[in-house]
């Protein structure tokens, strides 16, 4: 199995999909020079300017035009650069793309992958650091993918491009250079979580960058406190893999959800509420969420750190759960 970076895994999945299906094309700002993070490096040279298209700075039109092209049978990969800028294209995504198929009574499809890199990336401040994945879970018609590992980046991209639904694909900016094994023969379906570590004491659900934080915390918990967490990398938020999460909570009796995004109104609430609603009787104690406080993300590094869910926070919360502290 190869070892690839997260960014290269995504790049490779896109390139392979473009080779396999000439309806696939990419559009966004600066793509011809490889894209702002290099996610498209070399693709212009291989596929030309039509299929790796440079767009003007006009997120609304990038989103809207890609949608028009998708309804006409092409399969666009849309680059929003930072998920923050996708906020310039919300009408297009939410009112148009997500709703068209239904409003038109099934006459149309929008097979699109909408790349919206999320997350804190040292000192990018409040307009370049957001994680709004929970927003899109709330919108019928959209699929939401949040890859954590290079394998996720590869396999979820592969599946997303072949899927006929619009997929909001949220890569974590801070992990572009994270390396890991990638089995290019392994396909992952949307809605399939992965258990990265088995454990019996507490179920720890996370996604995106926080999966790595959770793995750090798990080592610490196991080595220093003899607590064995089961780590679930959710991978997609809609659909989300209730079966895997519920089975794990049934085993451990404890749930901790951790995510980088703001706790209030975050997707952790959906998971915690679902567990409490459906299998509350198996719980040995309260469910628990960890997310960012409802403040903004500051530029100064020490302030930024104040709102980042850390391995220490997770360790403390998991210990409290196991100790039965509320």
């Amino acid at each position: 199995m190869e070892s690839l970076t997260y960014i290269e895994a995504g790049r490779r999945a896109v390139a392979e999909a473009m080779r396999a299906d000439k309806r696939v094309w990419c559009v966004g700002e600066d793509l011809g020079r490889g894209g702002v993070f290099g996610q498209y490096r070399g693709l212009r040279e291989e596929f030309g300017a039509d299929r790796i298209a440079d767009a003007p700075i006009s997120e609304a039109c990038i989103m809207g035009a890609a949608f028009g092209a998708a309804m006409m049978g092409t399969r666009p990969v849309v680059e929003m650069r930072f998920s923050d800028f996708a906020l310039c294209a919300v009408d297009e995504l939410v009112n148009q793309i997500a709703k068209a198929r239904f409003m038109f009574g099934g006459q149309s499809r929008a097979p699109m992958v909408i790349r919206q890199p999320i997350g804190m990336w040292r000192s990018s401040a409040a307009q370049h650091s957001q994680s709004l994945e929970s927003w899109y879970t709330h919108i019928p018609g959209l699929v939401v993918a949040c890859p954590a590992t290079p394998q996720d980046a590869y396999s979820l991209m592969q599946t997303a491009i072949t899927c006929d639904d619009p997929v909001v694909f949220m890569e974590h900016k801070n992990h572009w250079q994270t390396e890991g094994p990638v089995d290019t023969g392994r396909s992952v379906s949307l809605g399939e979580a992965e258990i990265l570590r088995t454990g019996s004491d507490v179920t720890l659900v996370s996604w995106s960058g926080t999966v790595h934080t959770a793995l750090d915390a798990a080592r610490h918990l196991a080595e220093d406190f003899e607590i064995e967490p089961e780590i679930i990398n959710l991978r997609t938020l809609w659909p989300w893999d209730k079966d895997t999460v519920f089975a794990s909570v049934e085993k451990t009796g404890r749930l901790l959800v951790a995510h980088e995004s703001v706790a209030v109104g975050g997707f952790g609430a959906e998971i915690a509420a679902s567990v409490a609603e459906r299998i509350g009787h198996v719980l040995k104690g309260p469910v628990r969420r960890l997310g960012a406080p409802r403040s903004l993300i500051a530029y100064a590094p020490n302030l930024e750190d104040q709102v980042r869910v850390s391995a220490d926070w997770i360790v403390e919360a998991a210990r409290d759960l196991v100790k039965g502290i509320r």
Partner: protein, 333 residues
């Protein structure tokens, strides 16, 4: 347009098209006001039918059309079935969108009608993208796209973004600003700076034609020229058609904010149907506009009756056509 300088058969068929559009909308308004069968808002295009007949009538069946909330006329002109449309307005089974869209989301993909839109200006980038897909298909695909929007739409950002997009990618698309003077209750001129839609499009590098939007024949000729140019690779074009909204913004709007008599004066002196009929008048009673109006009314009254007799959609369709992945009716509620 000089009388005589047109093909009489084409002109007659345009007149019939306009008359049918008007009759359809009059029945739709009755269905809304008299029968309370149309529960959502409808936006009639009464008085604006020349745009539909003249411009949409110049499109091929496989060409692609995107319209607005005021899109019944365009959709009919593209060739949609009035019964399927009326069923849609009444939210019934067999409506062209299965009763799920209604008037503001009317669409018929089988004839290249890719949808009305409930968001002003939103169809502009989408239409640019449809044209983009045609260009990606290569020179064998000689379809074009027509995107129609109102005068109010030129004040929203997607207007600039979409026209710029069409320009830089040299797309086969005709943008049509169907200027009916009003944006809902506001006179559009009062909230529009500069020299208006045409000047804006010209500054964005598009070929611009200013037109009398109530002269169906002239519009048709202009649209024929422009669409031929688009197929030959002219790059995007822009048609500013000045017409007038004879009705209120919606079928329920009395439009009391308009100057007294403004609408009446337009109805009397500048109604596109009467103008075309007058132009075609050969002095011997042909065309017989009253007869045409009567036939169309009878046809559309029949359509309304049939639509009204159609059942509502099957309840489970409330959960279909959402997405392939992830159950829309997930038990999480």
């Amino acid at each position: 347009m000089a009388a005589g300088n047109f093909d009489r058969a084409t002109a007659l068929s345009m007149l019939k098209k306009m008359v049918r559009i008007r009759a359809f909308e009059e029945q739709a308004c009755l269905a809304a006001e008299r029968d309370r069968l149309v529960l959502g808002a409808i936006h009639p295009s009464i008085g604006q039918e020349a745009v539909a007949a003249g411009i949409v009538g110049a499109m091929r069946r496989d060409d692609v059309l995107l319209s607005t909330h005021r899109g019944h006329g365009h959709t009919l002109a593209k060739g949609a079935n009035p019964l399927a449309m009326m069923r849609e307005l009444l939210g019934r089974e067999g409506g062209c969108c299965g009763g799920k869209g209604g008037s503001m989301h009317i669409a018929d993909f089988s004839i290249g009608m890719l949808g009305a839109n409930g968001v002003v200006s939103a169809n502009i980038p989408i239409a640019a993208g449809a044209a983009h897909a045609i260009r990606l298909n290569g020179p064998d695909d000689d379809r074009i796209v027509v995107c129609i929007f109102g005068d109010g739409a030129v004040n929203r950002g997607p207007f600039l973004e979409g026209l710029n997009w069409a320009g830089i990618f040299h797309l086969p698309i005709l943008f049509v600003c169907e200027d009916n003077v009003y944006s809902a209750t506001t006179r559009t001129a009062e909230v529009t700076a500069g020299d208006g839609p045409g000047a804006r499009a010209a500054a964005l590098g598009l070929k611009v034609v200013e037109a009398d939007g109530n002269d169906a024949l002239a519009l048709h000729e202009t649209a024929n020229d422009l669409t031929a140019g688009l197929r030959a690779g002219s790059g995007p074009a822009f048609l500013h058609a000045r017409t007038y909204r004879q009705s209120g913004h919606t079928s329920f709007d009395p439009a009391a904010y308009r100057p007294a008599n403004e609408a009446d004066a337009m109805r009397q002196s500048n109604d596109p149907i009467h103008r075309l009929a007058a132009l075609l008048n050969d002095g011997s009673g042909s065309p017989d506009l009253e007869a045409l109006l009567g036939e169309a009314e009878a046809e559309m009254a029949g359509v309304l009756a049939e639509a009204a007799a159609t059942p509502f959609p099957a309840p489970e369709t409330a959960f279909s056509d959402v997405q392939d992945i992830g159950s829309p009716a997930a038990e999480a509620f």
